[in-house]
């Protein structure tokens, strides 16, 4: 056996291992730097649901009470009808269920075809939110109540 040859081979082998590690580290850093901006995604589902809820509550064409001015957050009980909300919420992408609770519970569903809230367990395919607001309700007199808004859309 050639002892010097053995030593050269081991030395060369070690140098190659170090080179491979450096190469691997550099390539990994480059991949991470390139991939992070590419894989960045914005989840807008929550934001869209939030905007829709605010639209339903604060828009005078939806539920907001109005006399000489609009009272965002104060619900006009006379506007809580299927016809009125069907007009103000003209979207086929979202299923919505609204429950207005005072002494009675009044529930309305918009886009009934999509409003299948029993599928909300499937969070890979459906995005669901459920938010309850404390609201003042103007009927003949001011009442306190809760407005629950459930929204569902397909991802």
């Amino acid at each position: 056996m050639d002892r010097k040859g053995d030593f050269d081979l081991t030395k060369e082998w070690l140098i190659w291992i170090v080179r491979a590690i450096v190469f691997f580290v550099v390539i990994s850093i480059v991949i991470i730097i390139i991939y992070i901006p590419i894989s960045l995604s914005y989840n807008l589902d929550g934001l869209q649901h939030s905007l829709l809820r605010q639209h339903l509550i604060s828009d005078k064409d939806c539920l907001a009470y109005e006399d000489s001015r609009v009272y965002p957050g104060t619900i006009d009980a006379n506007k809580f009808t299927q016809t009125n909300l069907g007009k103000c919420f003209d979207s086929t992408r979202y299923g919505v269920r609204l429950s207005l609770t005072t002494n009675l519970i009044n529930t309305l569903t918009l886009n009934e075809k999509l409003a299948k809230f029993e599928f909300c367990f499937d969070d890979k395919n459906f995005y669901c939110t459920n938010r309850t607001f404390y609201v003042l309700i103007k009927n003949d007199e001011a009442e306190q109540g809760l407005l629950n808004i459930e929204i569902l859309n397909q991802k």
């Binding site: 992070i36 929550g46 309850t132």
Partner: protein, 170 residues
């Protein structure tokens, strides 16, 4: 270098290339599968405005004052027992059974806290709970949002009412 050593070197080089390529693909797949998701939550704090404004406009049982008037009155008298009691009663009545069952309501003047009232399940304990390693086994996730409103005091002081609301599944 002898011929036998060259062949050995060639085999080692091949093993090294295969190793580097394997690690390369592992890094690509791991980094590629971890999508960085940015959630936009600032709009959600606007929704708490609705809860806060409705609370401030609600009439209390105390001399038929609204909560905003009662805060100003309590500040003028420097007595916050009634407002704390009525606020807790009001929020517990409407929020305890609902999705937004964690809340803190406080008032400040010039960064000095006047009073605060909170749900029994406090904000601090729930944050600790979220950090609990066992919480990954539960689907319960609380999102917090806050809102504030100015209330004019009887001597034109700027009283700030702040509501922090924690909601599930929002």
């Amino acid at each position: 270098m002898k011929k036998g050593q060259e062949e050995l070197m060639f085999v080692f080089s091949l093993i090294l290339i295969v190793l580097v390529l394997t690690l390369f693909f592992i890094v690509v797949s791991v980094v590629g599968n971890n999508r960085v998701e940015e959630k936009i939550t600032s709009m959600k704090s606007n929704e708490v405005n609705i809860d806060l404004l409705n609370y401030l406009k609600t009439k209390t049982s105390f001399n038929d004052l609204t909560f905003s008037e009662l805060i100003a009155y309590s500040y003028s008298k420097k007595d916050y027992n009634e407002i704390e009691k009525l606020t807790k009663k009001q929020f517990d009545k409407y929020y305890s059974q609902e999705t937004c069952n964690q809340w803190i309501l406080k008032a400040e003047v010039n960064n000095e806290e006047l009073f605060d009232s909170a749900s029994d399940f406090s904000l601090s304990s729930s944050i600790e709970n979220q950090r609990n390693p066992f919480s990954i086994f539960t689907k319960k996730k609380i999102n917090y949002a806050s809102s504030s409103a100015f209330i004019p005091g009887f001597n034109s002081e700027k009283i700030i009412a702040i509501l922090i609301l924690g909601c599930e599944n929002e």
